[in-house]
Every structure is written in structure tokens, then in C-alpha cells.
Amino acid sequence: MPFIPHTPADVADMLATIGAKNIEQLFEEIPAELKQTKLEGVPGRMSEQQITRLMLERAMLDGLPLCFVGAGAYEHHIPAAVWEVTTRGEFYSAYTPYQAEASQGTLQLLYEIQTMMASLTGMDVSNASLYDGASAAAEAVLMAVRANRKSTSKRVLIPRSVHPAYRKTIQAIVANQGIVIEEIGFDIGSGQLTLNLLPENPGDFAALLIAQPNFLGVLEEVDGLTNWAHQHGALVVAVVNPMSLAILTPPGEWGDKGADIVCGEGQPLGIPLSSGGPYFGFCCCKTEFVRQMPGRIVGRTVDLDGKPGFTLTLQAREQHIRRSKATSNICTNQGLLVTAATIYMAIVGDRGLEQTALESHANTRRLASKLAAVGVKVKFESPYFHELTVTLSKPAKQVLERLAQEHIVGGYALASDYPELGNALLVCATETKTDADLDRYCAALAQALS
């Protein structure tokens, strides 16, 4: 049988040692009427050669279209070495580093990515990852409510311009804990969360979420928003694209005191799009809140001989010790993905990340001017990173279907989440797009709109 190495002689020897007649006898404690071995819904087995053929056929069916959609997951070049090293068996098939002495590789790597993420976000500390961006945002909301000692409120303000899937995920995860999410709008002219939209007397609330860039691609005036929240005794939870932080102000420097908790989607850092996962979420914070942080955290210490080494720390917060009083029920992190992200950041380095961010920005600017040339206008005049909302003369869904026929994934139709924006489309051009790609996209879009 696949992956079961036993010979008939092995089985006979083992049963003799156990003192059982047959394998069935080992299941004698399961009531007979509960046993079933039909599995009619599972097809017969395939050899590796057969499954290879099947998967190739299925992959070919999906093709390799030209991709102009972002909306929370971004196509970037991934150096070949990243996944070559990441999928070494010693990383791929290891488990959570509970036996620190036998896991120094994974532990040191996690310490390194904690350092990298803290530096990118301008925070003091980082955890070793959460599941993905949306669930990290939900954990950050819970964390902010726990951490805010000045407020007894469970109200959290979340702008409508935060990723709709994040808002839905936050709702699903925090709903049963008495946390009240209040939505605030955005300025229809600028796409920004402007100060005049914030309540004058907000009352007691635990936190304000600020997305930079927001889902519409627009950069927020984060300093004023951060100061406003702090003036009212609330914490600031920043939701950011880590790639953008190579060129944008890190949340730790927003306003006078900086954001308090920073989370987001780590996918742009060397993780393939892969239909939405596996990615990794990250969570960083100021030192004073570290004991409220969910997820694994690695610390540097010394061994019995005084030699430096790494170990999981602050474990008393976690479910396997704290049980019903844990900060979260999370057990795993996204170890394999943060392995890739760490290697990615080491390989591209400080300059490479900056250049990738700048090229993505420049390509998106070029896209904007090429779109203008075919009569498609950018909706907001606010600054942006590498994503834009444009207004179409036809329903975006219909246009996207036409583009799909040209093997182009043309963007994200905003109408169902933001009906107030009309026929709006969210588009993104990263460093992976050439001038020829941009021209092909604009021509296909013009055709679809004609």
C-alpha cells in the first residue's frame, strides 16, 4: 500500500509480539456496529505517474493568464532560491519547535523574521506569524480590546474602506465575544478616511483600525487619524501591506506616538498567489502589549554553557498552558510560509525590497496614464501605492468577463461591496508587468468598453 512499508513477515512478527491473532483484533474496543470499511466515495488509488498526469491536465485547464488584480494578494517575482531552500525536508517536514535543541534552525529563522517585521513596521516586537491577513486583523482587534487598559469599552471603529473580506472575517471571529464593530465611511471624493468623518464625541472605544493603503488603493493621512484615536484614549491598529513599507512611513512613526499594533498579509513577501493560500498573517506591537499578543513568539537566550540559542517564549499565554484563559486558541503559525518570507527578504535585501516597491508604484503610474489615453479615468486623486480605483462606462463584471476571454484577469469589481462607487474597478500593476503587458491590458479594456 502507498507509504506503508510492512512486509507480510513484518506483520506476522509484530502481531506475535503483541499477542494478537490479526490486525482486526487490535480494534476490538470499537463497537462492531461502528466499524465500516467501504469508503465508496473514495476512488481507487493512483500511482504517482497517474496523479502527475491528472494534476498536469488540471493545471493546464487553469492556464497562466495575465494578472492585473491585487485586492489583498499581489503577484511579485519570487527568486528561485526561495522555495528551493524552503522546501528542504529539514524545514518542510519539521514541526513546531517544542524541542528547542533539535529546532535551532527554525527558531533562529523565526527570530530573524521577527526582527525583519519589527523593522519594516517600526514596532518593538513581532510574533512568529498568524494564519493570514484577515484572521490576523481579527486577532489584532481582540488583542486591542484586551490591551487597552484606559478603556473598558469593547467598541472598535473600522473604516468601510478596509478590505471587505477582512471586515467580514473580523465580524465572524469576534462576534461571539461581545465586541461591537462600528463602521465609519470614507470621503467619496478622495477615497480617504478624512478627519471630518470621525465623530466629534466618539465616547469610549478601544481601538481604531487604519488600513494603509486602504482597499480602494488610496493612501490615508495616517498621522491625523492616529493622533485623533490616541486623543480619545483608543489604540491604533494598523493594517498594512509589508511590501509598501519599503517606501511608506512605518506605522510605528504614524502621528506623534505611532500605531500600537500592526498586522497584515505577508503574502507579498515571497509567497505565491496559489488561489488564496497558504499565506501568513503578521502581528507586531509596542513592547508594553507583548503579553497580549496571540501566536508563537521566539526569544534569544543562552544554554547551560552560556552559548546563545533560541526558544519559544511567553508560552504561558498560549492555549496549551492557559486553556480557557488563553489569549487565543491558535496553536500553529504559518511556519513554512514565514520560512519562505525570511529567505525572500534576505535574498532581495533592503535595496531589493525598496526597488520592487518603487517599480510596482511606477508601473501603476504608467498604467494610470495609459488608461487615461484610452479614456478610462482614475476615480480618486489621492496618492496611491500600486493599486488604483478606475471608473468604467460599463458594469465591471461584464468587462471582466470580456477580459477573461483574452486571458487577462482584469481587476476586482467593486460594485457589490461599494455600490456608491458605480462601475468601479480596482486594478494593480506590480513590478512583474512590462510596458507590453500594460499596452495589451489597456487595448483589451478599451475593446471591452467599446
Binding site: R291, Q315, A316, R317, I321, K325
Partner: protein, 131 residues
């Protein structure tokens, strides 16, 4: 055998209470409790001014292997916290009944302390619990 002090009152959740003449009392965890927890690495004390209700969780003591709630032995208001513990949580291991005190409380009702265990009853309780 862990130590108990005759001048202290104890709870079944392993806190101790030392009544002072001014109507306040110091609160900490017993020698038995610190021994079970092992090396303490962090103490989260209630902030001064907070109102506590007897029996409710009001602080957390954390070791490498466990995090444990500290329950208010009596009802009252927190009047002081032991700031030294934030840098040196090990004071609780070294001197649980002295330098390892966690907070001081102003008792709402001085008679409340009478309901707590004396040292002898507490020692018997611990002995029974470990069997």
C-alpha cells in the same frame, strides 16, 4: 515542606493577606503556590484605585510553565502595588511573604478577613490537597 506564617491569613486559592493597623492589607501568594509555579517571570498586578471583589481574579503570576490567576482574598480598593516586581518577579520566589508582596488593598469591611484560613488550617488544606 512549604512555609506558612502565623500572622497571615490564607485562602484556598493560595493567596495570603497581612492586615495592617491602618485598615489596609498586603496580598501575595503563598510559599506553597510559588513552589508549585516555579521560577516566576512576570507579574500582572491590578492598577491602584481598582475596586476588587473577594474571590474575583485580579492579578496574574506567570512562570515558564504556567500562568495563574491571583484572586482577591477580600473586597476593597487597591491602594498600592509592588513596583519592584515588574523588573524582579523572582522576589516572589525568594521572599513570598516579604519583598514578594503583590498589592495592598483597603478593606471594604475589616471583618471579611475573619472568614479566611489561619496558617494551621491552610497548611492542613495544602497537605490534604496534595494527596
Amino acid at each position: 515542606m512549604s512555609k506558612t506564617l502565623a500572622n497571615l491569613k490564607y485562602t484556598k486559592t493560595h493567596e495570603w493577606l497581612e492586615i495592617h493597623n491602618d485598615g489596609t492589607a498586603s496580598v501575595g501568594i503563598s510559599d506553597h503556590a510559588q513552589d508549585l509555579l516555579g521560577d516566576l517571570v512576570y507579574v500582572e498586578a491590578p492598577e491602584a484605585g481598582r475596586k476588587l471583589t473577594a474571590g474575583n481574579a485580579c492579578a496574574v503570576v506567570e512562570s515558564v510553565k504556567a500562568a495563574s490567576d491571583v484572586y482577591a482574598p477580600v473586597t476593597g480598593v487597591v491602594v498600592a502595588i509592588n513596583a519592584a516586581l515588574s523588573d524582579s518577579p523572582e522576589l516572589i520566589n525568594k521572599d513570598p511573604y516579604g519583598e514578594g508582596w503583590i498589592f495592598k488593598i483597603k478593606l471594604a469591611n475589616a471583618a471579611d478577613a475573619n472568614a479566611l484560613l489561619d496558617a494551621k488550617a491552610y497548611a492542613e488544606f495544602c497537605a490534604a490537597e496534595s494527596h
